[in-house]
Amino acid sequence: MLVANRGEIAVRVVRALREAGIRSAVVYSDADRAGLPILLADEAHHIGPAPSAESYLRGEAIVDLAVRIGADAIHPGYGFLSENAEFARRCEEQDVVFIGPPSSAIAAMGSKIESRRLMIDAGVPVVPGGRDPLPDAEAALAFAAEVGYPVMLKASAGGGGKGMRMVSSPDQLETAFRDARSEAEAAFGDDAVYLEKFVDEPRHVEVQVLGDAHGKVVHLCERECSLQRRNQKVVEEAPSPVLDGSLRRRMGEAAIRAAAAVGYTNAGTVEFLLDKNHDFFFLEMNTRLQVEHPVTEMVTGIDLVQAQLHVARGGALGPEFDDVSPRGHAIEVRLYAEDPARGFAPSPGRIDVLRWPEGPGIRNDAGVYEGAEIPIYYDPMIAKLIAWGSDRDQAIRRLQRALAELRLEGIASSVPLFQRILSDEDFRAGRMDIKMLERKMEDGSWAVEPATADADLPLVAAALAHFARQQQVTSIAGGSAEDAAHTGSRRQWRLAARREATGGAPWS
């Protein structure tokens, strides 16, 4: 099987293939010549220069390669070609199994308008409202009464907040409608305005689904992914801290209806917004494996990549996939090579030191190793750290322990941000919504500052390092008495037992 991806997800798939006893082949660009997926795979094939458009996005070349090397199937991972209906179609045409849904399902879910229509037909709740322009304030009032307050007025022609008005009661609507219209006219030269229910501080809760080729679709519980920055998930967990069995069943059934409506097979995710009243609304469907799939694996015990292979081969989903409920709790953090203390500036470079945390409840899904170079060309996510606990509190504690144990030197990473999130009172209480991360970063409670000068430890460590370096120079230059004393620090360490109190104080 050919793995048409790179980094940690390529490693994930290669591991699954080895466990399944299937030979693995990976592709690599110039920048990934020494990448971890290659080291673990049976075969590695060069696919082009570093930029994605000239390598990992070359769908035609990748299908041709699969045919040439006799690969039966292609696993697209996530990103790159994974939601490209054209690529899936090409695989279908060349008789190479695409590990994912039929290209028709990808296409149907790929269109916002088409998928919304399909969901309404299938009885999956969507955010109430309509894209049709409202002729006048009376129409707006009538429609608002139908979807329920608060509602949001939006300009048909554009975004960026222009022409947008939140309205919480009927008496404000008329004025708001007039204002929105004139603002829309001014901004876009078009005063058409429509109305949608306003979902206040929603959570992002998504449901993992799995379909086989025999028409059976199941759900494998939900993931809570409300902590996002610029629509990128940062921390994910399963189960959601706010779902009970009944809501889980209802959301699971809605997700199954959504998938069934497009003839879905293989693994996919139906994303919902969940509001404070525990009403949920279809957001979109991701027609592929998700980055955050490990948290589902850890609470259900189901290996999703093995399940993908199983259904792609025509295997049926047995009873072990029915009525799956979560066991314990799992949390994932995405490790990015970027510096939260410098506005999340990318931090490519060489990983000088890397010690993964290990031990109970910890899973590392990484695409890098000590000594690896992080190229500048791709997404900065280098690894995922996942912790399982018998409950949410234990999962959090284990993840905190793991982050304390992790050593990653040479590049900056998002670890300091995770440490703030995991010790936050709201997070520990399970309170969150999709704006929370940006809000807490802005108000400073999660801001990551460069370390401040409040302790002697870094000063002393730097001085000792400088001393050792000076001694080395001296030593090369011929040695000295001071040098001999320094050498003593290695030779005479048995003497370290002889310790006297010298009045030192802890430096924190």
Binding site: P348, A463, A465
Partner: protein, 182 residues
């Protein structure tokens, strides 16, 4: 060994001594006060373990220290110290260098700004000779699909531009030099 260390806004004298039993004594602060640490230093793979002796005997701190190239004028070396606290950047100067610096006068120098990361220069916002103010954008670097503006750290004049648009740079490559306005 006498050193001057700078960490953010803070500056301290350090006196460091290797003792006969293989441990180190480090005093942070002036000779007539300050805090003194007795330290056992153990190398463990690519990390170092610092163990306090004396009053806080047994307390253990795992650190990774590496020398980096980016240093300000007058500093002998800059180190990044990674520990449970996160990453601290510490500048070290030896007192003689410092004296020489001070003798040469304060306002003489130009500051060279280097690339913080490898990437591609997508935009150069000024020309050589331009007057710029602190915080003004000078060049824009792109890496991992994100653009980052590199700004002037002081008011001054652009003495030199080392890069042009479209050029690829490595981390540490000089980007521009700014002559500080007195």
């Amino acid at each position: 060994m006498e050193l001057i260390v700078r960490h953010g806004e803070r500056e301290e004298d350090i006196h460091l001594e290797a003792r006969d039993d293989g441990t180190y004594q480090v005093r942070v602060g002036r000779s007539d006060g300050g805090r003194t640490y007795q330290i056992d230093l153990v190398e463990a793979g690519r990390l170092t373990s610092l163990r306090l002796l004396g009053e806080s005997e047994g307390r253990q701190f795992e650190v990774a220290t590496r020398r980096i190239d980016r240093r300000s004028r007058g500093a002998a070396a800059t180190y990044e110290v990674s520990s449970h606290r996160g990453v601290d950047r510490v500048e070290i100067t030896d007192p003689l260098t410092r004296l020489a610096e001070e003798a040469a006068g304060e306002g003489s120098g130009a500051t060279t700004v280097s690339a913080y990361m490898p990437g591609r220069v997508v935009e150069v916002l000024v020309a050589e000779g331009d007057s710029v103010s602190r915080g003004q954008g000078i060049v824009v670097l792109e890496a991992m699909k994100m653009k980052n503006e590199i700004q002037a750290e002081t008011d001054g004049r652009v003495a030199r531009l080392y890069v042009s648009e479209g050029e690829a740079v490595e981390g540490g490559d000089p980007l521009f030099e700014i002559d500080e306005t007195d």
